[in-house]
Amino acid sequence: MEGNSSGGGGTGGGSAASSSSDFVRKLYKMLEDPTHRHTVRWSDAGDSFIVVDTNEFTRNILPNHFKHSNFASFVRQLNKYDFHKIRNNEEGGGSSYGHQTWEFKHPDFQMNNVDNLDNIRRKAPAPRKQPQQNEDGGVQQIEELNSQVQELSKVNQEMTNQVQRLASDNHAVIQELNTMQHVLQQHDERVRIQEKVINNIMVYLQKLDDEMKEMRPIGGVASQHRHDNDGRPSAPVSPEDSVTGPAAGASASREHLSTPLQRAQMLLNNHPEILDANPSIGRFRGLSQSGPSETADYNDFGAVNRLAQNGQRPAALSNGIPTVPEDGSATFAISPGTTMVEPFSNGSLGYPMQPPHHENGGLGIRGRPAPSRKRSTPFVPPNWQTPPRVLLVEDDPTCARIGSKFLQTAECSVDMASNGLIAANKLNSGKYDLVLMDIVMPQLDGVSAASLVRQFDTTTPIIAMTSNIRRDDINMYFNHGMNDVLPKPFTKEGLLNMLEKYLSHLKANEGQIPTQLNFNEHDNRIIEDQGNIMVKGGLKYSQSPSKSPQGTVLYRRPPADAGEDPIGETPSAVEDTAYANIIPGYLGDSTAPRAPGAFSSPGTLSHGVRRGASEIDDSQQQLMGLDSKKTRY
């Protein structure tokens, strides 16, 4: 009614002509009428008006001024014009105007201010549309919220999916690792079995050697191809007649050996079956460790080696196998308790193990190098996690330099001492992973130095380097606390073996991983190396590339390698914590899993990793270091 008449187009601000609406004027006028004072009036402040008695107001005043008697309509009208109802209840003094009073206020509706009335206008736009707009606004808002919620749900879903995917990838990777562990373990097994096979072969050939004792083929059978030797009957060559008959001896033995050799070849060829069928424990291990006879005395050694040397000279080191000038068996663990092999008592191990190697080309065994070809083998240092600290105690400057260079090439950090006293002092003040101790030295000899050191250090391995490897001497070394003997002059292989033996705990991955790749090579090396032991009466190994770590298993005395097998331990341990660290980084999840670092939120993840790093061993730390980088977005 009112709204309609004044609504028109609902253009509140449009028509300036009717500046203030009729409604407002009427309202004003009404309030000016004193007779209505008891029903409706200005407030005391004059900035609002109060309907004191709504009943009265509705009955009498409304009809007079506004032509309707609907209080609700009146209120609506007021609202349209942007009047605001003031709640009396909220005002502190309660309703000073009474309980049922309604107070309305408009900034431009003042008691004595007629002019401002013009400013009172309807709220734009059309009154009816306003509530709808509000509703629409509300609806819109709701719709927006809905869509947002949906969005969020979608995102949530996607994230969940991603998490699941990651989790399953995780599982896959873990399983892969497990599989690889198994594979590697199986390879370990295979190698062990193969070692045993070779043991048997060695034993077999030992027996043959026994049969041919008097033939004394001089060590280091010259040529690569045994068939080249003519079948001269062997003259019994005594050790003293060194120079004359290496070829003779070899050939003679060859005649007898051909059959067993062929058998050996067959055995080797039949690897797969033998592997399964032959569980015998390697006596050969004892052989390899003992090398030539230790039974009598290592004096024989000297004789034998000289013999071997002399005998070998004409062959001109044809095999490129370095002869150890003197006692030179490669390093082996000569422990007091090791049983040495009797059959080699005469020291004449003319056993050319090489030929079988050639002839067994089918096994994929690398043949011996050509006679005059010098084999330059790459010196592959072991894969250390941390460079081992080696103390090299040596008075001879030449040996010291060479030893030091060897060790440096093997990526060890080398410290030197020129006599036993200096060495003992160094060991007292510092920590070393390995000590290579010369025996004959001024001031304080190696044995005494070792005794001295053992009084305060029982763990650092001390290795005697000496040319004296008589049994008595060796016993003495052990009795004074030395762990092992490295005959001098040492060879690269000998040195490497010692490093592998006593420092394997410092290697990364404990050397497990590469073996798979070098598997065949490894076989070759075992055969060649062990063969050379046999051949030369314990002369040093051929210059083969550095052994795959599993080669060390061969020479390590304790058979309980399985117990030390790190495959089962380290990787899984790494797994757990590494994964523990990966997960929060990936998810940005605040629920970080329990880990040694004990971090609680992704924000602090990297810090937590660092904090925790000290509690974790090196290999894990590396991984964690990487992970912490990942999480640092």
Binding site: R313, D396, V440
Partner: protein
């Protein structure tokens, strides 16, 4: 490099000494040296060389040659003084480094001298009670050793030039 210069000087001196001392002069034939020098062993050292300049092995070899010269001189003196014990230890001392370089014949003589100096025979087995005999043995071993050394020295000189 300074070391090289001194080495060259030393080498020249050594060569002069050797020429005056050694009566025979074998033709320079690398193959012939095969019995004197165990190439397998020597190669180990060569492998340590970082580059073709062979600095490391050269240093080792020249260091050894200096060491050998000093040892010869000391041995000579000890023979004069008839100091068998010192002779034995000198022999042992040089034995190690010569063996490490693969100089088999030199090493053998060192070992003989070592044994003789400690009252044993050349093989180290039997005992020799008469010091004069030991001394005589040492003298001859020393002479032989120097000859061998001359060969080796010549070889190395050629090899490193």
């Amino acid at each position: 490099m300074p070391s090289k210069d001194t080495d060259t000087t030393a080498r020249k001196e050594t060569a002069a000494v050797e020429k005056s001392e050694s009566s025979e002069r074998a033709p320079f034939d690398r193959n012939e040296k095969s019995d004197r020098i165990d190439f397998g062993t020597f190669e180990q050292i060569l492998e340590m060389d970082d580059d073709d300049d062979r600095e490391f092995s050269r240093a080792i070899v020249w260091g050894f040659m200096d060491q050998a010269q000093e040892t010869f001189t000391a041995m000579r003196e000890s023979i004069e003084k008839e100091d068998l014990e010192r002779l034995s230890s000198l022999g042992h001392f040089l034995k190690g480094s010569s063996a490490t370089l693969g100089l088999t014949t030199v090493k053998e003589y060192c070992e003989k001298i070592q044994h003789l100096g400690s009252g044993r025979d050349e093989t180290g087995h039997a005992d020799i009670d008469n010091p004069k005999v030991s001394l005589a043995g040492i003298k001859s071993a020393l002479d032989e050793m120097k000859k061998e050394y001359a060969h080796v020295h010549r070889y190395f000189t050629g090899y490193y030039n």
